[in-house]
């Protein structure tokens, strides 16, 4: 993160929860590329998604992020037309495709399990859709060739999927979407079945592909690193509801609620329960055995918030492990002491476990640290980097 310096009090744009066009390549204030309007999806009597609205700008890379069962794949399948929706509309490229067949929606899709046709060669896998569409051979061949070159599949065209490695299979699956020459690509956890190294490689390839092609991409994942690195905007979902929609940095810096705060970031944010109070007319948060001054904390500008923070209330105070510094720092407006319980060396970083205000606290520090368990350490943080959540609503204050 570039803005970890303590003085980075940001300008008034409080982006919490409000959809906006992203800073993507093709983000004009024009018509959205994909537009989901008041979408309801039900499996029998069980409503999975209710009243969901989502606009995706042309050329935008939107990531749907959330834990298992949050409805992100369901939403993607609805956009693809693979499942019936109960109510609402889906528009793609200015057309109402709510009742259109998947093939008529102008989408390409990549699946988690690759879903390659096992009895067809790579070439036939790539060309299957074009052959169904009845395109002449003379037109199919160059398109397959172009995609194969783009994804370095040239030498593999005659092979069967079973003769490919996992990474190659997923590239074929991506190629099968690309060959369709469509504006919108849908990815359903495409990297989940790959091992860590391949996942990183292919993630970079997908990012490059997006920069090169400039298509709209909707990408479902439960991996926050994929989300942070790939997305122009992230939609964090839980229980079928978009919790927050915004650029990765905004979501990281200003999570709208406790769920988003805990879901984004690894190791996750430290939480402490406390009480919002006023001391000498300045806001402070009273934790178990510590008082953290809040005059540098940037309160949310949501209209309802003004009233909320004027009164005392139970709150949860959150601070990210990477925003805590060890030793005495001049700009750390708050400092404390703790005994080290555990040290996890991760190479580039070290995670130090200690306790603070009656709860465990993790601190991310550099990989060279010599801290040992049992030592007493001093640490501090700038409350400007912290997050404060109302215990009643779970929303950020």
């Amino acid at each position: 993160m570039s803005q970890t310096s303590a003085t980075s009090v940001r300008t008034a744009e409080d982006r919490e929860g409000y959809p906006q066009t992203a800073g993507a390549a093709g983000a004009q204030a024009g018509e959205p590329s994909v537009s989901v309007r008041e979408l309801d999806i039900a499996f029998g009597a069980h409503k999975v998604i209710t009243g969901l609205d989502l606009d995706i700008a042309p050329g935008e890379f939107l990531v749907l992020l959330g834990p298992s069962g949050c409805g992100k794949s369901t939403l993607l399948n609805a956009i693809a037309g693979l499942l019936d929706i109960a109510d609402g509309e889906i528009w793609i490229d200015g057309r109402n495709v709510t009742w259109a067949e998947p093939k008529d929606r102008g989408i390409g899709m990549v699946f988690q399990s690759y879903a390659l046709y096992p009895r067809m060669s790579v070439e036939r896998n790539l060309s299957f859709g074009l052959r169904i569409a009845g395109l002449p051979k003379a037109e199919i061949a160059p398109r397959v060739k172009r995609v194969a070159e783009l994804l370095q599949l040239d030498g593999l065209l005659k092979r069967r999927p079973a003769e490919l490695s996992g990474g190659q299979r997923q590239r074929v699956a991506i190629g099968r979407a690309l060959v369709r020459n469509v504006d919108v690509f849908l990815f359903d956890e495409p990297l989940s079945n790959l091992d860590a190294k391949l996942r990183n490689e292919l993630r970079v390839e997908i990012k490059k592909l997006h920069q090169r092609l400039g298509n709209t991409m909707v990408y479902v994942t439960h991996d926050q690193i994929e989300a942070m690195t790939l997305a122009d905007r992230i939609a964090v979902m839980r229980g079928g509801v978009v919790q927050q929609l915004g650029p990765p940095k905004a979501i990281y810096r200003r999570p709208v609620n406790r769920f988003v705060a805990g879901f984004i970031g690894s190791p996750s944010m430290n939480f402490f329960s406390g009480r919002l109070e006023r001391e000498a007319d300045r806001p402070v948060v009273q934790l178990d055995g510590a008082t953290v001054p809040l005059e540098r904390y940037e309160f949310s500008t949501r209209p309802a918030n003004k009233e909320a923070i004027s009164r005392k209330r139970e709150v949860t105070f959150g601070i990210r492990p990477e925003h805590i510094t060890l030793g005495d720092q001049p700009d750390a407006a708050f400092a404390a002491e703790g005994k080290v319980d555990l040290v996890e060396a991760m190479g580039a970083d070290t995670i130090v476990w200690t306790s603070f205000a009656g709860a465990p606290l993790t601190i991310r520090t550099d990989g060279e640290t010599e801290i040992r368990p049992g030592e007493t350490i001093r640490f501090g943080f700038d409350p400007a980097n912290a997050c404060l959540f109302d215990d009643k609503t779970d929303l950020r204050l």
């Binding site: 390409g108 879903a115 790959l194």
Partner: protein, 331 residues
């Protein structure tokens, strides 16, 4: 919502998995590390090290059981090779004095069923003519129905499937008379198409069940991918699903060939005089002799009739066991 890949389930877990041994399911593994390890570790148990009393008892039981089932077959073969005087005088276990194949020849080409004396070869060819189209048609219908029921969420699919299964559990004798009436009303009764249609109808529940279970074991993403690629109902079935169905097609073929070949009552009731299958002809040969019972001829005719299922068994080997397992669902 994470889309889990469906794991093969139901009676066809094994065949479904087999289909995927060469395809999709191994995630990220190199092709070489497949199949062999899996077979080696799971398919076979540990080799017993010492010969305990329990084990001797077990082997003893196996030998007795094998003898129990083999002896009738041995007696049949021996008897079929003897001449009638030999059968009258000797023990049924005595070896034939000479290899006399005349009973076989007679059973095949000149044994009498009532007034006709053309042997059971007529029945053999009738059975072939009944079995081939019935097998193909019932598999095609079952595969298509199973595919439709597992991938296309047709309204009322569950009810349709429940009704079909109910059909599989009801004794089919109760349908005989209504069906006879129905077929004679449309003028098909006692024809070849009549018996073929009957076999397709009665084969449909079990065929649908095994194909539905097989397709339920395939990842739905494959189907979704084909839909995004623009495949329609038949296109996906023909180009994507059917090429992956080889294992289950073999199982289905084994089941249907043996079932239809061994059928007696449906052939007797619906096939008509000119199309009586081999089993019915055999019964006529065995039961309609006047005077001395020609045991050697009866044995030879029986073995000839059983030859086709036996051949299917020996040729298909391991597939046959799966077919039995699939049939076990029927109860």
């Amino acid at each position: 919502m994470s889309t889990e890949t469906a794991t093969p389930r139901g009676p066809h877990a094994e065949s479904a998995r087999l289909a995927f041994d060469r395809g999709e399911r191994d995630r990220g593994e190199r092709p070489t590390s497949r199949g062999t390890t899996r077979e080696g570790t799971t398919a076979r148990g540990r080799k017993p090290k010492t010969l305990t009393i329990g084990r001797i008892g077990l082997y003893g039981f196996v030998v007795v059981a094998a003898a129990f089932f083999l002896l009738p077959a041995v007696v049949m073969v021996l008897t079929s090779l003897k001449s009638m005087p030999e059968i009258r005088d000797g023990s049924i276990f005595a070896l034939p004095q000479s290899l006399d194949l005349s009973a076989w020849a007679k059973a095949w080409s000149s044994a009498c069923t009532g007034l006709d004396c053309e042997g059971i070869r007529v029945g053999f060819w009738n059975s072939v003519i009944i079995t081939v189209p019935s097998t193909i048609a019932s598999i095609a219908a079952g595969a298509l129905l199973g595919y439709a029921l597992s991938f296309w969420r047709v309204k009322g699919a569950d009810i349709l499937f429940a009704v079909l299964l109910l059909g599989a559990f009801l004794p089919y004798q109760i349908f005989l008379y209504p069906m006879v009436r129905a077929f004679s009303m449309v003028g098909l009764y006692n024809t070849l198409s009549c018996i073929v249609i009957v076999h397709v109808i009665f084969g449909l529940p079990i065929m649908t069940l095994i194909f539905r279970n097989f397709y339920a074991g395939l990842p739905v993403e494959l189907f979704n991918a084909a839909r995004v690629d623009g495949g329609g109902f038949f296109r996906i079935f023909w180009n994507v699903m059917l090429p992956m169905s080889t294992p289950i097609l073999i199982v289905a073929a084994i089941l249907q060939i043996t079932n239809i070949w061994n059928d007696f009552i449906l052939g007797l009731v619906f096939a008509g005089r000119d199309n009586l299958p081999m089993t019915v002809q055999l019964n006529n040969v065995v039961n309609s002799t006047y005077g001395e019972r020609e045991y050697n001829l009866n044995m030879a005719a029986t073995i000839l009739t059983a030859a086709v299922p036996l051949l299917v068994y020996f040729v298909s080997g391991r597939w046959f066991v799966r077919g039995i397992a699939a049939g076990a669902v029927k109860g």
